[in-house]
């Protein structure tokens, strides 16, 4: 078991090193690394001094290590566009993205699982069929169209909710969060629904197909043959077995919420790291792009790791297998 965890962490670090290298390569080979670090307003003297200090003529692996070391300290250079240290800019934007992702992730998982179970159990029912048909449209709808449509319906036509921005924020332990204020919460609803809807449809379809698969299995047949009621079968037996594979994929979906936040944040002008990134792409702001890549890579790898370990906790079979033989 310990061996499995260590090996898994090792893999995660390896992926992170690879992502880090891409990030480093962008920083080093695109544009001017000195400019990346100092910003465009630096003087010639600054440049000469920094070139000396950074050892830009060192071998690439050494430079890569130095890049990683700087990244650990939060030093990603200076943004071309805003002229501030990238680390600071990202840090100030991060809470907005994280709270948005958390709320929409919660919505996606909660409703995704509920609808998934419902459509699996009442497979041929009218409501279930309607939900399934609608969900196919949901999967085909680009996220930005959902956002635009929601703005049109709830902000422009009904006037219930704000169409852009983050509203007011309240500070908790020095972190500014919008969800704690009424205006902030209202501003968050449309972006969170937009961001969560697509993930919800995916989770729902996944839960449904896994659950149908489980309901066809022998032990469910046997449970029926033992005279168990529908409730016991659906929720006592099928649900847990359904959720084991669902957790893996759902975990990965949560990672992609961070990525899709780029789109939602742009549509709603939500001041998070996604909006920062898209502006960076527009202005070819290399330091921000490479830092963002590293950040998202770290988040994804962490999520994958947690998901794998969680999977391991839930399924008793894995523990025995690992304890016994090691590999699968």
């Amino acid at each position: 078991m310990l061996a499995f965890i260590i090996r898994r962490i090792g893999q995660a670090l390896l992926v992170l090193l690879a992502v880090g290298f891409v990030s480093f390569a962008m920083f080093k080979f695109m544009g001017d690394p000195l400019e990346n670090l100092l910003g465009q307003e630096a003087t010639l003297a600054d440049r000469a001094e920094l070139e000396e200090r950074l050892g830009l003529n060192d071998p690439i692996p050494v430079q890569y290590m130095q890049y990683l070391a700087r990244a650990m300290d939060g030093n990603f250079g200076v943004s071309y566009r805003v002229g501030l240290p990238v680390g600071e800019v990202i840090l100030s934007r991060l809470p907005a993205t994280l709270e948005l992702a958390a709320l929409s992730g919660f919505l996606a998982i909660f409703f995704g699982i509920i609808f998934g179970i419902y459509t699996a159990i009442r497979r041929d029912g009218f409501i279930a069929q309607t939900i399934m048909t609608t969900s196919l449209i949901g999967v085909s709808l680009p996220t930005f169209l959902i956002g635009v449509f929601l703005i049109w319906a709830f902000a422009v036509n009904l006037g219930w909710l704000p169409s852009f921005g983050r509203g007011q924020t309240a500070s908790v332990f020095g972190v500014e969060l919008a969800i704690l204020t009424w205006s902030g919460f209202k501003s968050m609803i449309l972006p969170a629904v937009t961001l969560g809807l697509y993930q919800m449809t995916l989770i729902m379809r996944l839960v449904r197909s896994e659950m149908l698969e489980v309901l066809r299995s022998d032990y469910i047949r046997f449970a029926r043959a033992r005279g168990l009621g529908d409730r016991a079968i659906h929720f006592g037996h099928a649900l847990k077995n359904t959720l084991v594979p669902v957790i893996t994929i759902t975990g990965l979906q949560l990672g992609s919420i961070i990525a899709f936040a780029i789109i939602t944040e742009t549509v709603f002008q939500w001041p998070g790291v996604g909006l920062l990134f898209i502006n960076a792409v527009n202005f070819v702001d290399i330091p921000v792009m490479s830092a963002y890549l590293l950040l998202v890579g770290a988040i994804f790898v962490t999520i994958n790791l947690i998901v794998d370990l969680l999977y391991f906790v839930i399924d008793p079979r894995l523990q025995a297998d690992r304890a016994g033989g090691g590999g699968h």
Binding site: Y219, F222, A225, R226, G227, L228, H237, I314, P316, R317
Partner: protein, 335 residues
């Protein structure tokens, strides 16, 4: 105690509507099982054995359904019961054992919880009492250290032990009838005999009737009192096991016996029935066996034979129709 058979089915028909017409995996099948009796049901895969078992407990997969005949459990008609009433019969009055013990148990649930859950579904007992009974049930099926093993997960048992757990589950609520669908097929040969012996002993002790579905003639010979032979969803022959094995009448049964190595029989080479059982979509008119039958004649290809007593067996074959056939077959039978 009544003399009614525990299970009595007659003219049972199961149909599946498909896009290429209606299929009949079970076609006018009827038989009885008495208290304490073990009836073997044999046939090739697809002959309708398992479908018969599913029909009895009301668990046919959609879109299949029973379209004819009736099923009685100790005299009470059960094929027309509501879903909910049927559910209360399953597990309580009819227990089932499936083929593969590896997949019959929920892998994520302790075996004890699965037994306790079954007991409490059917009997008004406390959690504590149910657990005590679960331990007793596991002990009875021969699981060592049952009081600790009860908290194990299925994967922590061997195949044979798991099938013992499945049997304990099937018997947990003291049913009148057990339907065992190929209970030993997936097990190691060395374990098969033990499991059959266990099943036989427990059912004899309690007077439980057993419907034993199998394609293993060895199991039939050793364990059953009577045997029913199914072919393409129809009953070909039924009778006391000894008679069917020693003097089969239906050409299909004869072929089946000839293709099975017998422990007592000589070293004759095994023969094979030419051809294969027809697909359910293309069952020939008349007797379903006629294209493969060496003795087929006039009515076989046009009219459906019905069961007729021949000796101690009952056989669905035109060869035994006095009005139609000459003496050769009769003479053979009397000899």
């Amino acid at each position: 105690m009544s003399t009614l058979p525990v299970l009595s089915i007659s003219d049972l028909i199961v149909e599946f509507p498909t896009r290429r017409g209606v299929l009949r995996p079970v076609d006018r099948v009827g038989f009885d099982i008495a208290r304490g009796e073990i009836l073997g049901v044999v046939g090739e895969s697809g002959a309708g054995k398992s479908m018969c078992g599913s029909a009895i407990v009301g668990l046919i997969d959609r879109p299949g359904r029973i379209t004819g005949g009736e099923i009685r459990l100790s005299g009470e008609r059960i094929d027309t019961l509501s879903q909910e009433k049927m559910r209360r019969i399953r597990g309580k009055r009819i227990g089932m054992v499936f083929q593969d013990p590896l997949t019959s148990l929920n892998p994520l649930m302790r075996v004890g919880d699965q037994i306790v859950e079954t007991i409490r579904t059917h009997l008004p007992v406390s959690e504590h009492e149910a657990r005590r009974r679960a331990v007793a049930a596991l002990e009875e099926v021969g699981i060592p250290a049952a009081s600790t093993r009860i908290d194990s997960y299925p994967h922590q048992f061997s195949g044979g032990m798991r099938q013992r757990v499945v049997i304990a589950l099937a018997l947990a609520a003291e049913p009148e009838l057990i339907i065992a669908d190929e209970p030993t097929t997936a097990l190691d040969v060395s374990v098969q005999a033990q499991i059959m012996a266990l099943l036989k002993r427990l059912c004899r002790d309690r007077g439980t009737a057993v419907m034993l579905i199998t394609h293993d003639m060895g199991v039939i010979a050793e364990s059953t009192d009577r045997v029913a032979v199914l072919y393409a969803g129809r009953l070909a022959e039924i009778g006391p096991t000894r008679d069917v094995l020693s003097s089969p009448r239906h050409p299909y049964t004869i072929g089946l016996m000839a293709s099975t190595p017998s422990p007592t029989g000589g070293a004759d080479r095994l023969s094979q029935i030419p051809g294969a059982m027809p697909n359910l979509r293309a069952i020939p008119p008349g007797c379903a066996f006629n294209p493969r039958c060496t003795k087929a004649f006039g009515p076989c290809t046009s009219e459906l034979p019905v069961l007729k007593p021949v000796g101690r067996n009952e056989v669905a074959c035109w060869l035994f129709d006095d009005a139609l056939t000459g003496n050769p077959n009769k003479a053979e039978e009397n000899a």
